[in-house]
Amino acid sequence: MSQMNRIKGGLVNQKKSISFTFNGQILTGFEGDTLASALLANNKKLVGRSFKYHRPRGIVTAGSEEPNAIMEIGNGAYKEPNTKATITQLYNGLEANSQNHRGPLGFDLMAITDFLSPLLGAGFYYKTFMWPKAFWEKFYEPAIRNAAGLGTLSTEADPDTYDKGFRYCDILIIGAGATGLSAAITAASSGAKVILADEDFLMGGRLNTESIKIDGGSGSKWAKDTVAALSTMENVTLMSDTTIFGVYDHGIYGAIENRSSEAREDKDKPRQVNWRIYAKRSILCAGAIERSIAFGNNDRPGIMLASAVRSYANRFAVATGDKVSVYTNNDDGWTTARDLVLKNVRVVAVIDSRSISPVLRVPGAEIFMGTDVVDTKGRRALKSIKLSNGKTIDTDCLAVSGGWNPNLHLTCHHRGIPKWNGEIASFIPDKANPPGMTVAGRAKGTMVLSDAIIEGHNEGASVASDLGYKVKKSDPSETPSVSYSVTANWGVPSGKNRAWVDLQNDVTAKDIKLANQEGFKSVEHVKRYTTLGMATDQGKTANVLGIGIMADNMGQTMEETGTTIFRPPYSPVAIGAFAGRRRGMEFYPTRYTPSHKWSVEQNAIFVEVGMWYRSQWFPLPGETHWRESVDREVKQTRASVGICDVTTLGKIDIKGSDVSEFLNKVYVNAFAKVPVGKTRYGLMLREDGMVMDDGTTARLSENHFVMTTTTANAVNVYRHLQFCHQCLWPDLDVHMISVTEQFAQYAVAGPNSRKLLQKVIDSDCDISNEAFPYMAAGEITVCGGIPARLFRISFSGELAYEIAVQTRYGDSLMRVLMEAGEEFNVVPYGTEALGVMRIEKGHAAGPELNGQTSAYDLGMGGMVSGKKDFIGYKLGLREDLLRDDRMQMVGFKPVNTQDLLQAGSHLLNLRDKPSTETDQGWISSCIYSPILGHYIGIGFIKSGHSRKGEFVRAVDLVRGNDIEVEICSPHFVDPEGERLRV
């Protein structure tokens, strides 16, 4: 029968059916249902199996504290395991599957573990699977992992979209129950900017689940009206279905907003939004969470928290049983009995562990005072309970209340330690909350609703007035005062039966006792040994109960026992929500070079270089292998002329009267006397003497310099220069700005480069070898008056220039250069050809500047000045950095020119076996040289500078290569540099 447990009323829309599936069976619920309430309406009592013993389990709570009803939602890549049915809003087509069982839910093949339970107590795997040692990794661990564990992952990429957002407010109110709404309406009436967040999709907190009246009407109506009033106020932002999961420094709160319903209709909309909320103050109104009592077999489907039974009846119009019994140690449990009777649900018994007079009259129910429940029966659903007086009662739902714990999680995110309050038999927040946070209502331990409403009202007013807002005088809403009295009851002796404390982790009272007996005295140690309070619910219903049992075992107070440390997140947050949109190509911004559009037209192959997208090579029709293209680009450049976009090199514009003095302090070589119109190569060290970066700096005028850095280090070098200036030499007249993206820059390299440029550069600019020699720099104009900068520098080793124009002319300049170069058979070249030519020329680059190489190691010791202080000077002189047997950079070529040489190969003396002890060095960069017709490499080898001409082995055990190579100079092409100066 469809929805056989549905009763009248509630806050669900009984006119609007929603269809969903559970383990393949098609069921219906109503709009406003959670998955849990819809399952209960359909009499699905058994909804999952437990983590360790595979015990049949049912729904226990009606909120985010749920330990049992965790499910896999959706299928394929959309499948999400460990989702709490109690907070999953029901929607059409929702597909839910129970998890953690082999075979059907009703007959789990793994349930055998339950009969082995005497062997599987706390810490069993530390004790049982110790021998033989080798079995752990190969046998025991995989077997245990297979048997235990929660849901399974789809193992596919998450297809959902996530987003991030930022919000700012004066007052963040966490929790939209009676206290939070009361605080919000008062604070908002002052004009303060208020954000009100609640984890439920329906604001109102427990007012939606109680039959109590506020201002003469129902609590849920009062909540609805208050929310409606708040929603009309411009200074208020309402965030329902939003969990504040963490409290960070300086008033920053992490919030996760669930927008699943919106995302299901439009795949581009985010499923969740990870908000960062900046709040001057916050008021925590997170209410309280009910706890259970540990008695024998207290985990059967049908045994629920009393407040949940009430929620399902009042809010969701679901009767959780035909013959309900209530077991309580406090007054609030009685409210469940009363409300069920009002809803015409039969209550068969109320059992109160306290020896007092009955709190309420419950028509039709047997009342047992000073009595406990000691055992239960019914494997897949509760059938009966046994009382301490020997009596057995037939019942299909037992509502248990062990008292209420203030929900103080967020008050502890800055290491706050809760304190014990005997009157309400629970922990309450200590004064040391995160700065800016105050607490009101039941979260603070104010358990009586009428008091909590007043507290919220007053706190809202006081925080707003602290922030300088004028609060209009108003009266808090009125509700009858209902007292709350509780006597702690952590559990009753259960004999051979197990009394469960943590349902999600299958931790029993006996496990805690065993841990204590074995010497685990600290609550943190007991947590880790027994797993009490771990997993997706983080022990929200179990922790205080466990601590109570521990305190009893050890004969100490609750205060002495203490709580474990609370850490974010309050409830689980999907990893995708932290990534937001930063996935795949959006992991960081894609930066295109000025010639990108033109390169796309040429069918260039692109590669990510640092933050940039650069052309790697330009294949021509018919070329089938990348080497064909790259070899052609190199040969054509060296034979005539080639063009490469080098915009990505860092460019720093430096002005001021002290720039040369400043450069002298950051470069190892002399920069004090660079003439105007000249460029100089500079080597930069870190303070520890290791090479940081290299590049050229040109002096365009007396007080104006332009520095280039490597692509990878552009940001670091600029940051370093700013540090040197602001922190070390603050009064030097130096002004810097990064202009990497403001100028498009092209290398024009090859014997015909001058001829090509002369066609483009305006005729009044003389760039003949005499007027514009090697290392010259100057400001020129191109194409009839467009300002440009020209540098006669070369990375390829050819006669070469770099020409820069403002970025907006970059695309045009590329086209103009290519057109002008047609008569010289000009070729565009990419990063591969660039790399080939720099290795042929023996220039160090990224693989060589690895943070462990000194100027001497790179063969540039001669550049290092001994006549000035510069960053890295003193520590660069340390004895060990000057030793002759350091790894020094040299060139390598195969003895047999047919051999393949690979970067990453290790170098060995000819007769040595490969080992760490015999390792002589490594090949750092390697390419096939189309000019020489064989592979060449540069790399590091012990005492390399004095070993030229020696033969060693290059061994690559990973790729199975072992060849003989000759140590040589790294300058393979034009070692004298004659081509540069023609």
Binding site: Y248, D249, H250, G251, I252, Y278, H414, P435, E687, D688, V715, R719, Q722, F723, Q726, C727, L728, W729, P730, D731, D869, Y873, K874, L875, L877, R878
Partner: protein, 96 residues
């Protein structure tokens, strides 16, 4: 965290890059003396691991590129003071 920039007001710490102890401002000037090797070693490598108020360098990379000296309590993350590193450097005589 929020850093109260002396020129720009409160800014999220995500806009900043952290370097280390503000002692890094105090670079030795005695490079010509042999004894300075020890001073540079101390300057480069030796740090007090302070549990309490710690003066440290932050760089407003996604902002105005100021280097700041931030006094932060390493136990509570409370930020007690924020100064421009340039002013601090001048204050200890590194200016002209």
């Amino acid at each position: 965290m929020i850093i109260n920039h002396p020129l720009l007001g409160p800014r999220d710490s995500e806009e900043f890059v952290y370097l280390g102890a503000a002692d890094l401002i105090n670079r030795p000037n005695n490079w010509e003396q042999d004894a300075s090797a020890e001073d540079f070693y101390q300057y480069q490598y030796i740090r007090e691991n302070i549990a309490g108020d710690h003066r440290e360098l932050w760089y407003h990379e996604q902002g105005d590129q100021s280097w700041l000296v931030v006094t932060r309590n390493t136990l509570s993350h409370e930020i007690i003071n924020v100064e421009l590193a340039q002013d601090v450097s001048r204050g200890i005589g590194r200016g002209k």
